[in-house]
């Protein structure tokens, strides 16, 4: 079902949306972004503190959080740059960690976002959480403008948290260990939610877990690539066998 947006107050499609309309859209987006903000700010701070503790200047945390804007990969990037890994390896790692975003194009409502700049930003700031919030049932009636505001707020939480963490990082004593667990915890939560969404489809997470453990044992140097490949191959094999098997029809 496609729900058309309410035809409102002024109907001048060719003109830019009057600024008077923005505050309410922005306010609604601010409310929608609150729960993600509660996670992003502490996680951003943890990222910034790790940057500071790795001996990298604070501005790098701001630059990375503003331009890369992919939380999970940015944590990995700290380790990569401190090890002075070649740029090509960084590109490959970025690809492997972020290739999952390819699938977000299937349901992110980019068609509601107007204008070249808006669309550019909409795809640029399409992080996991932006996808999770906007692809759901609840967001069905949100305008493109509201979606962009939501993405901007999330982007600011992350970059703000990272900058604050990097600036204050020197105040956090070195013997404070374990902040990087925030990332493990974030993925654990996202995994629990994603598995719950699959309702009873246990083979999928089990297949992924087996793939990851096999990759850890057999290809410890390229765990992510091996695990994604094994998992995808497993899914495809399962898809083919279920298609041939009319039990599920």
């Amino acid at each position: 079902m496609h729900i058309s947006p309410p035809v409102g107050r002024d109907a001048s499609p060719s003109m830019a949306v009057p600024p008077s309309r923005s505050p309410s859209e922005a306010r609604a987006a601010l409310r929608d972004s609150a729960s993600v903000g509660l996670g992003f700010v502490p996680l951003g701070v943890a990222f910034g503190v790790l940057v500071a503790h790795s001996g990298i200047d604070w501005w790098w945390a701001t630059l990375s959080s503003a331009l890369v804007y992919g939380g999970s990969f940015e944590f990995l990037l700290i380790g990569l740059v401190t090890a002075a890994v070649p740029l090509a390896s960084i590109a490959v790692s970025a690809f492997l960690v972020n290739v999952r975003h390819v699938f977000y194009a299937l349901s992110f409502p980019l068609d509601r976002v107007r204008g070249r700049l808006g669309r550019a930003y909409g795809t640029f700031a399409l992080c996991d959480e932006a996808y999770a919030l906007t692809a759901g049932e609840r967001a069905r009636a949100w305008s493109g403008r509201r979606i962009l505001w939501l993405q901007l707020f999330m982007h600011l939480y992350w970059a703000g948290g990272a900058t604050a963490g990097a600036l204050l990082g020197s105040l956090v004593p070195d013997r404070v260990q374990g902040l990087d667990f925030a990332l493990t915890a974030l993925f654990t939560v996202l995994a629990l939610e994603a598995v719950r969404d699959r309702r009873g489809d246990l083979p999928t997470p089990v297949l992924a877990l087996l793939g990851a453990l096999a990759a850890r044992l057999l290809f410890p140097g390229s765990l992510l690539l091996a695990a994604f490949a094994l998992f995808t191959a497993g899914l495809l094999a399962r898809h083919l066998t279920t298609k041939d098997n009319p039990r599920h029809a």
Binding site: G39, S64, V97, Q177, V195, G211
Partner: protein, 109 residues
């Protein structure tokens, strides 16, 4: 510490790859949507990818030392709190707090 040009280049390379992965698939949207196989993968990949990323984060667990108990306890708390309250920020904060508390004190090295 790595030099500034390298640090900036690392960010730019990562940003370009990440944005490419987020933006380019929209160009192939029509064909992607038509494929049943892609639809099958699309609905199942998020759950599996998150599980793989959790394993990846825990890949260097010191399984032969008692220090392994800190992340394991933190993981158990994260899962437990999340199943109990289903509040993502709370689960993340609780799990991280446990790991920081244990790793910085009892299991400090």
């Amino acid at each position: 510490m790595p030099d500034t040009p390298y640090l900036v280049a690392a960010v730019l390379v990562s940003a370009a790859v990440t944005w490419g992965l987020r933006a380019l698939p929209f160009a192939a949207l029509g064909r992607l949507r038509a494929s049943r196989t892609v639809g099958y993968l699309q609905s199942r990949m998020p759950a599996g990818i998150m599980v793989i990323l959790v394993v990846y984060c825990l890949r260097d667990l010191p399984v032969t030392r008692t220090a392994v108990l800190a992340p394991l306890a933190a993981l158990a708390v994260t899962v437990g709190v999340h199943l109990w309250r289903r509040n993502a920020p709370l689960s993340i904060l609780a799990g991280t707090a446990v790991d920081v508390a244990l790793a910085s004190t009892v299991f400090a090295h």
